[in-house]
């Protein structure tokens, strides 16, 4: 080996040490590196949301003209309905407040906005815009939900943002129950799944369990990471014990997540009981 190559060898050795270093040593480095991205990601998200709002409202001149004619015709009719709708709107707002997801829950939530996705092809994760400086109670392994159901769990919390894995990730495992039959199992993501084509697998279902297509799977609450009874999805396919590759000991079911993971904008992190 030539002497001029020695620095390169040293660099590779340092890189190898960095890879095997425990997380408590790499955390500050990650934090430092990601800090440069967080404000720009925040900005991009804000601009993106505003752009889509504007583009939704923008129409071509032709369609505006057509709409205008139609609207004129409908104006008279709408005026008569206007008063009634105002009343309905007020009533609707009241109902929304009453049925509000956060207010009605037994848990404390921290609302977070999705600012970026995982940079790797092999992880299904997101970056959220809340960190320790927003709420000191935030920590890893906290459930992330929307009003529809479970989204995933937090993994690393930084000062001004945090990372989470989605339930479609292979390493996110959730103790679950089938709502109708109370049959228990473990739901995990599949390597083939992505945000665009989400699919989950429920394993360790008893051979004798009565499971049917369309049944709802919810969190069981075991393990104390995920609160109980959060909807996860519905069963789309049931695999027999022989096909599940489990030597016939248990069955598997494929589950379609109830949450649209490809269009997540705002999520809630469960930080504890009220």
């Amino acid at each position: 080996m030539k002497f001029k190559h020695i620095p390169y060898v040293i660099v590779v050795v340092f890189l190898a040490l960095l890879v095997v270093a425990p997380e408590r040593y790499t955390h500050p480095i990650s934090n430092f590196l990601v800090k440069g991205f967080t404000p720009v990601c925040n900005l991009i998200t804000t601009v993106k949301i505003r752009f889509f709002r504007i583009s939704d409202n923008l129409k071509s001149l032709e369609s505006i003209s057509e709409d205008n004619q139609k609207m004129r015709k409908e104006l008279a009719k709408l005026r008569t309905e206007n008063d009634r709708l105002k009343e309905l709107e007020q009533e609707n707002n009241k109902l929304k407040q009453m049925l509000g997801f956060v207010q009605n829950s037994a848990y404390d939530y921290v609302a977070a906005r999705v600012i970026a996705r995982d940079s790797s092809n092999w992880w299904q994760g997101l970056h959220l815009d809340v960190g320790l400086k927003h709420n000191r109670r935030l920590g890893p392994n906290m459930a992330v939900v929307t009003e529809d159901g479970l989204v995933g769990k937090t993994t690393i919390i930084f000062e001004d943002h945090c990372k989470m894995v989605l339930i479609v990730d292979e390493n996110c495992k959730v103790s679950t129950t089938i709502k109708e039959s109370r049959e228990q199992g473990i739901v995990m993501g599949m390597r083939e799944a992505t945000e665009a084509a989400p699919i989950l697998k429920m394993t360790y279902i008893s051979r004798k369990a009565e499971i049917l297509h369309g049944q709802t799977v919810v969190t069981s609450g075991l393990g104390s990471v995920f609160p109980p009874n959060i909807p996860i999805g519905s069963i789309t396919e049931i695999r027999t014990a022989s096909k599940a590759g489990s030597l016939g000991l248990y069955r598997e079911a494929l589950i379609k997540p109830v949450v649209d993971l490809s269009n997540l904008e705002t999520v809630f992190i469960v930080v504890g009981r009220k």
């Binding site: 990601c41 996705r117 092809n121 392994n141 390493n171 103790s175 945000e195 393990g223 490809s262």
Partner: protein, 188 residues
């Protein structure tokens, strides 16, 4: 000076990677622009630049990913609790390996034609991702298998990079020309 351009390029490449969602019709493939930069550097610049781009790109990409988390064992599967462990820089190794391979064999390729750049972009990306996937499986302690979906996703990223690599070449070449580094790029 070129290293400053590389840092800016890596920054914007990763910014795009975390902003663009997976592409459904390409089997859920995400962008991997660091691959394109590694190919460009391997074909155009010194060994130092190859090391620089591969390591900085790989480490920052891992910092932006959940790659730095290790979440499995049988106990945690039941209680859904993961432990964290650093794998920061894991992605840098495949980049480095193929970057050096390209650098040491660049005399075998014509650098300029679009077709060569496209084939390099697609082929090298496919190999890098295949190695990256294998390493990731070991690091996550999950079973290693190459299903059709996995291969198709890698193929999807390769297709994207096949299209993007010539653009990366022309963009980076024009940047280096503007910075007065043209001779340096051609010389290597």
């Amino acid at each position: 000076m070129m290293n400053v351009i590389f840092i800016v390029a890596i920054y914007f490449a990763l910014l795009l990677q975390v902003s663009v969602p997976p592409i459904g019709f390409l089997f859920g493939a995400k962008l991997d622009l660091i691959c394109c930069l590694v190919i460009y550097t391997g074909m155009s610049y010194s060994l130092f630049s190859v090391f620089f781009v591969s390591i900085v790109g790989g480490v920052v990409q891992d910092a932006l990913s959940n790659n730095s988390v290790y979440l499995s064992d049988s106990a945690s599967a039941i209680v859904s609790v993961g432990t964290t462990q650093g794998h920061l820089g894991m992605s840098a190794f495949p980049y480095l390996f193929f970057g050096i391979l390209l650098y040491s064999n660049k005399a075998l390729f014509f650098r300029s034609p679009f077709l060569v750049q496209m084939l390099l972009g697609g082929g090298v990306t496919f190999l890098i991702l295949l190695v990256n996937y294998t390493i990731t499986c070991f690091a996550r302690e999950v079973p290693l298998y190459y299903s059709l979906d996995v291969i198709l996703r890698i193929f999807g990223v390769s297709l994207i990079n096949m299209v993007l690599t010539p653009f990366v070449f022309s963009f980076m070449d024009s940047m280096s020309r503007r910075m007065g580094l043209e001779d340096h790029a051609q010389q290597h």
